[in-house]
């Protein structure tokens, strides 16, 4: 049944920092569940959402689950496009170098590791949103 349905483009928009609210973790869980449905999935990180991808997160002191390593596993679920807005990074004094390295393996190129994080500016983010079938906000 599902084989006869066309793939839809799903974009998960992440705009909240992790740990201060449940949005970031919930988004990640929905992405992982959604990955089972073989849709065309990508993630967008704008506003405080860019903090979700920070390298070196250590939650031992706050007693919360550090879910930041899960982003590295997304490639195994064929979630290979994490769009990060450059303006959101710049406004927060951040750059790509502050984010964890996230890659996916390209089976067609001898499992070459390719970067999942794609920097886009605000205008490109607008076009990205406009190109989706479904947008889920967190």
């Amino acid at each position: 049944m599902s084989g006869q349905r066309a793939k839809k483009k799903f974009l998960y928009v992440n705009r909240k920092a992790p740990y201060g609210s449940i949005y970031a973790l919930e988004s990640l869980e929905v992405v992982l569940i959604g990955a089972a449905f073989e849709q065309e999935v990508s993630l967008a990180f704008l506003d405080d959402g860019v903090y979700q991808l920070m390298a070196g997160q250590d939650t031992a002191g706050v007693g919360m689950k550090n879910f930041s390593k899960t982003y590295k596993a997304l490639g195994d679920y064929e979630v290979r496009k994490l769009y990060v807005e450059t303006e959101a990074l710049a406004e927060r004094g951040l750059s790509l170098a502050d984010l964890q390295e996230i890659t996916w393996e390209d089976e067609e190129e001898d499992y070459a590791e390719k970067p999942s994080i794609l920097l886009v500016d605000r205008a490109e983010m607008t076009r990205l949103i406009a190109a989706q079938d479904v947008v889920l906000s967190f």
Binding site: V13, Y23, R122, I129, V135
Partner: protein, 102 residues
């Protein structure tokens, strides 16, 4: 087909509206709901930002949320259209996608 953007937070609480206005495309619709409706009142600090988008986007407020907050349609910035729940449904149904700015 265009996008319907909903904003449900006051612009004084968080930058949801600001971020929405920075990401809408020409021809999109913006619907202010819940605490988001306060942004459309004349004299509100974000009036200029909303007016700046009113030229190429349609801006709506959800009337029951407006009424609940003691505001009236005539208090809204010119060009903002009030809709009821049925209008909300029509906007969603006539858009290709809905983006919620939380």
């Amino acid at each position: 087909m265009s996008t319907l953007h909903t904003v449900n937070k006051s612009p004084f609480d968080r930058p949801s509206l600001t971020s929405c206005l920075a990401h809408v495309a020409a021809g999109d619709a913006i619907l202010l709901i819940e605490d988001g409706v306060v942004a459309a009142r004349k004299g509100c600090a974000v009036e200029g930002a909303l007016r700046g988008r009113a030229g190429d986007c349609a801006i709506y407020v959800l009337a029951p949320d407006l009424a609940a907050r003691g505001m009236k349609a005539q208090d809204m910035i010119e060009g903002v259209t009030c809709v009821d729940y049925g209008g909300f449904v029509d906007l969603a149904a006539s858009s290709a996608r809905v983006v919620a700015w939380l």
